[in-house]
Structure formats: C-alpha cells, structure tokens
Amino acid sequence: MSTTISPKNAVQVEASAEVKAVHQQMLRQQRLNRAATYAVAILLVLWILVPIYLIASMAFTTPAAVRAYPKGVLPFIPFSFETMNFFLQSEGIIPGVINSIIVAIITLVLSTLIAAPAGYATSRFLFPGRDFYRLSVLAVRAFPIVVLSIPLAVVFINLGMYDSVYSLALMHTALALPTTILVIGSVFASIPFELEEAAQVFGCTPFEAFRHVVLPLVLPGIAAAAVFTFVMSWNEVFAASILTVQNRTLPAQVLAVLGQSSEPYQFAGAFFMMIPALIFIFFIRRYLFNMWGQVSK
C-alpha cells in the first residue's frame, strides 16, 4: 500500500511546488498590474486636475501676478482675492450672475415639472406607442442647440419676447427636457412597482401610495437630475448669446467682451464659471451613470 501511495505523494509535492511558483508569479504579475493601474489612474487625475489648479491659482492672486512672465512654478503666490474681486466688480457681471441663476432655476423647475409625469408614465405603464415615444425623445436629444437657436430667436423677435431671461429659460427647458425625461424614467424604474402595490393593498389610495412610498425614494434621483439641469443651463453659451442682448447671462457676457477684456478678467471669469461644476458634480456623480447609462439602453 505504501508503495502505491508514495509516488503519488511525490507527484503531489512536486506539483504543489510548481503551482506555488505559478501562483507567486501570478501574484507578482497582479501586483505589477495594480501598480501600473494606479500609475495610469494618477496620470489621468493629474491630466484633469492640473489645468484646473492652474486657472484657480490665477483667479486667486494679484492682477500683477497674472500678467507676470514667466509665471511662478508654484502659483497661488501671492494669494489674494484681488483678481476675483476685479472680475466680480466688472460691468455686467453681477447682473449676469443673477440672470444666469434666474434662467437656471426656471429651467430646472419647468423641466422637472414637465418631465416627472412623463418619466413616471414611461417607467410604470406599458402603453402602445411607449417605445416610439422614448425613441423620439432620444432623437430630439441628439439635435444640436445651434439648429434651434436661430429660428427661436426669430420667433421671439416676432412675438416681442426677444432678449428676455424668460425666453432663454423656455429654450433651455427644451434642451434639458429629453435628458430629464429619460433620467427621471430610469429613477422611477429602479423602484419596484410591488412597493406601490403593497401600499395600495394596505389601504393607501394610488395617490397616497405614490406620495408616501415612491416619492421619498425617487426624490434624490430627481434632485440629481435637477442639479444637472441647473449646471447645463449655467454653462450654456450659444443660445444665451443668440437670444439675449441687454439681459445677458454670465457666459454670454464674458463671451461678448472676451476680445476686449484683460487676462485677469478672463482667468477669474473662467474659474468662477467652473465653481458650480466642481461642487455639484461631487454630489451627483453617482447619478451620472443612471443618466447616461440610460441613453445607451
């Protein structure tokens, strides 16, 4: 018996040594891969962050330091609010900021109010024409802003609604609506219908079930969509430049004077326009995948 076992044992011992070696090699390989992945990740992070850091350093220093050449290797020195103050006190900036905020808030409210029922309908009901509706919304999403702005400007002139923040908000709502419908649809779809049914079984009316069960669950997602709409409207420059003349939004104002403005003005302006993105994207980053993942389904 022992004679039959011992060769087997020997083979096993030999094999385990080989496996160990392979295993170790694989581990080493894996560690190497991981280190390489980290290196790539850090490079990519630097690629994104270094330009932002550079412009931020220009926004928070003295105008003299902005104009200096060569610029310091370590900007932010001297640290100062002078450049930013200069930008904010320039003509048309504060009204521009106020206009931008008004437009963005109207857009946000209007698009959420219109999109929420539509999103609910597409996720809760299987109705004839549903796929066609979703497809049309997607197709509309793909149309360029440039194409819409000119005819809307002409229409608004004829209606006497030109150069108004409200008209611009109507246009921005049209731009935001398709995305908002799809996103809110996906948010509703992620809440099982059984929850609503269960609430109704326990005696809630359909409205109560919606109000007390579904709404608290979807609110964060809808809020994220609304925040994204806000950022989109805040950033939008083409339609804003076409549709407003006196009542310019912030990007339209900066663009209009870009050719005649000084570098401190431009750099501080650029960083100021980035602030909402830096703050809001942090809060909604998880929902971004809901939003754009939806588009590809």
Partner: protein
C-alpha cells in the same frame, strides 16, 4: 363561457389613458419649442418671406393685383395717396400710418386759416381726457429756407393749399385723421414694366427724389439665395474643413482615453470614488471656461511658455496662438476638447461596462487572456451598443464646438461651422444665412448618425 369571453374582450379594448395624459405636457412642449422651430429654421434657410411685392391697380387693399416686383427692385415713385383708415385698424402691427390734424389758426396777416396739417408739423401742447390733442403750435423748420407751413384743404399733400402759417403759430386742433400712405410705383422685372400701388411700409424712398426701392415684399418664395451666400462666404470652406478636421482628430483620442479611464474605474482601486469624481468634473464645466483655461496655458505669457522658460528649454516665449501658427491653435482646441468632452464618453462606457458580468471578464482572465486580448475580444464587442451611442452623441457635440474656438483663436484665424452660425446672426444680422449654416450642421449630424448605424449593421451582417 360566451359572456366571460365577451367581458375579457371588453377589458382588452378598454384603453388606459393615464400614461397619455402624463406624457402630453412633454409632447406639447417639445412640439412647440423643438420640432416647430426646427422646421421654421429649415424654412428660414430656403424660403424668403419677403421675396416679392404684389402691386395693386388701385391704392386699396381690396384692389386687383397689377403685377409683382422682386425685393430690391429700383422703382420710380409716380404718385402718393393717403387713405383714411379707421382708428381701430391703425393699431394693427405692421401698419405704418400718418396722422393729419384738422386745425384752425390765425396767419401772420391775422386771417383765420382752417385746414389740414400733417402731425409732423405740429407740436401738441394740450390734450383732452381721452388723450386726443386739442391745441398746439407749428414747429420751427430747421434749415429750411421757407419758414411757412402749408395748410391743406384735405388731409393730403396734393390737395389745394388753404393757407400758410408761420413757425410757432398757435393752433386749435379740432379733429384728426389717420392715413395709410400708398405709393404708385413703376419698376422693371425681367424687362417687363410693372406699375401699381403699394403701401408705404414696403417701399424705401431715396431722399427727396422720386425714386426708391422695394424694401421688402409681401409674398414668399423659395430661394437658394441664402445657401449660395453661405457657400460663397469666405469663411465657409475654412469652417467646414476645420470642423471635420477637429472631428477626426478629437473623437478617436477621446474614445481611447475614455476606455482607459473606464478600465481604471472598473479595476476598483482604493479611492475609486475619488477617481470617479475627478474624471467626471469636466462634464459639468462650461465650454467657454475650458476655452479660457487652455488659452491661459497656450497664450504667449502663459503656463506652457513659463514652464519651458523656467526649465531653460527656451529663451524667448513661443507665439502659439497667432495667424502664422494655425496648427498650434488646432492643437490647443484639440487638447481642450479632449480634456473637456472625454468625460461624457467615459460615463457611457462605464455604464456599459457595468452591464458586462464580472464572470465573463474573470473567465477570460483565467484562460490567460492578456489585457489587450481581453479589451479587443471581450470588452469592445460587448461594449458595442454603448460605443455606438457615444459615437453618435460625440459627433453631434463635436459639431457644436464654438466657445472653445472663439477663446483660443478669436474666431477669425480658425473657425468652425457653429462659430459661423453665430457670426452670421450676431455680427452680420443675417438670420437666414445663419439658419442655412444651422441647417448644414443638422444635415451633417443626421448624416453621420445614419452612416454610423449603417456601418455597424453591415458589420453585424458580415459577421452573421
């Protein structure tokens, strides 16, 4: 049995209207602010609302048509007539009216003069409760040798002169008439003389002479005028070429970079959520801000020159962004766009990757597939639907690059189609040519989407 069947049939036939009511507001909104303007825009590009003016045989809206003259035709003005129109019609938009006052006053010799004077000759000093003028004085005529103002027996300059008043003479206004002025004009269209009457708002009169031109027509016509204006514009070809060049330069690099980013996210490193945040930041940054940001790097006293100079690589700053170094501007736009718009592709790719089950990837890894093999044979084929969507979306977005170009080139040295749309509208005040550019962008967007879809389908057919 039969009854049961009928009842189920009835149930099936009953349509649930709730979802339709819920989607209705969005449909109305999109129709109003998306689909209608889209068609209106295409119309602006190929249709001239004011292409021709139809002339009438009599100075009246109800008169027969005498013929038409195209917009811009030089005309002789033969006669003029003011038609009385009721006050309620005078308020209508687009009706240009002239008001005449019936007055009575004393002339220089002390005679009472009664008659009609145009509104432009009287400064109103008193009005009654209804807002109608009751008294005024004759305006002084600056620079005119003849200081007397003529009073006519009828509200018409061709009428008999009832008297003359000196400047500043006090007048009592007893009545007013609202007139619509008509001109009798004669012009030539394709060697045929056309003569007839038209309202004053269509005619631009040259000075005091008896000539003028058709300022705008009242009937529309299809025209290729705007399209040919666009194609013959000196910025058209540079803009078209640069737009396509940028698309070809930007999109492939973006896709490679986005897939690398997505793989990094998929590797679930420590601090993954931080990486995710950083990679998605550019998604929310305004195009204009990105343009300025890269301008701060490439401008003559910018960061790139500063870096090269402090490290001793150069002695004098290089001029990157000038008309002589267009390729540097293109490179700057390229970097700015790759920096800004890769995030969106990354997000789509990541959500596509999440749909691929981990088992598939692990299996591939277990069988000894290298990273490249995994990407090439497992990940890319499974990502195809996401990549397709990202490709269409990116192409359409690439056609809209606008503020980045203005920030980095000033809009003249290097230009793109979206910038030309803006220029035609804002600088040249030509909405029609701008609409033609916009239509071209729409055409390219739709064309490229169709081509992508076709390409992918034909590949699938070949595979099958």
């Amino acid at each position: 049995m039969n009854e049961e069947k009928q009842s189920t049939q009835k149930k099936r036939k009953k349509i649930n209207w709730a979802p339709y009511w819920l989607i209705l507001p969005s449909l109305i909104y999109l129709a109003l602010f998306f689909i209608w303007p889209m068609f209106r825009g295409l119309g602006l590009a190929v249709y001239n609302d004011e292409a021709a003016l139809s002339l009438q045989t009599e100075p009246s809206r109800d008169a027969a048509t005498a013929g038409t003259l195209p917009q811009g035709t030089q005309v002789e003005i033969l006669d003029q007539q003011g038609n009385l129109i009721p006050p309620d019609e005078a308020g209508q938009a687009n009706v240009i009216t002239e008001v005449w006052y019936q007055i009575s006053a004393e002339d220089a010799d002390g005679n009472t003069v009664e008659g009609w004077v145009s509104e432009s000759r009287i400064r109103v000093r008193e009005e009654n409760e209804a807002g109608a003028p009751t008294a005024g004085s004759v305006r002084t005529r600056i620079g005119a040798g003849d200081t007397l103002t003529e009073v006519y027996s009828e509200p018409n300059e061709n009428a008999e002169v009832a008297g003359q008043l000196e400047a500043r003479a006090e007048v009592a206004i007893t009545d007013q008439s609202i007139l619509e002025i008509w001109y009798q004009v004669r012009g030539e269209d394709r060697n045929q003389t056309v003569e007839g009457w038209a309202q004053s708002r269509y005619i631009q009169v040259f000075g005091e002479t008896n000539t003028g031109r058709i300022d705008r027509g009242n009937t529309g016509q299809f025209t290729t005028e705007y399209l040919s204006k666009m194609v013959n514009d000196r910025f058209f070809w540079p803009a078209t070429i640069t737009t396509f060049l940028l698309m070809i330069l930007i999109i492939p690099v973006q896709f490679v970079l986005a897939i690398v980013m997505a793989l990094v996210i998929q590797a679930r490193l420590k601090g993954n959520s931080l990486f995710l945040y950083v990679f998605t930041i550019p998604l929310g940054i305004s195009e204009l801000a990105v343009g300025i940001l890269w301008f701060s790097i490439f401008t003559q006293s910018g960061f790139l020159n500063s870096f090269l100079q402090t490290t001793g690589l150069i002695n004098t700053p290089i001029t990157f962004l000038s008309a002589d170094t267009r390729y540097w501007i293109i490179i700057a736009i390229w970097l700015a766009e790759v920096w800004r718009a890769t995030s969106i592709v990354m997000v789509i790719v990541v959500s596509g990757l999440q749909a691929i089950s981990d088992e598939v990837l692990e299996a591939a890894e277990l069988f000894g597939a290298s990273l490249w093999q995994r990407v090439r044979h497992v990940i890319l084929p499974m990502l195809k639907p996401s990549l397709q969507v990202a490709l269409i979306l990116r192409t359409i977005l690439a056609l809209q690059v606008f503020a980045v170009v203005i920030a980095l080139s000033g809009g003249d040295v290097v230009t793109v189609l979206a910038n030309e749309t803006y220029r035609q509208y804002s600088e040249f005040r030509n909405a029609n040519v701008a609409a033609a550019y916009a239509g071209l962008i729409l055409l390219i967007s739709m064309g490229s989407a169709v081509i992508y879809l076709r390409m992918i389908r034909s590949q699938e057919e070949m595979a099958a």
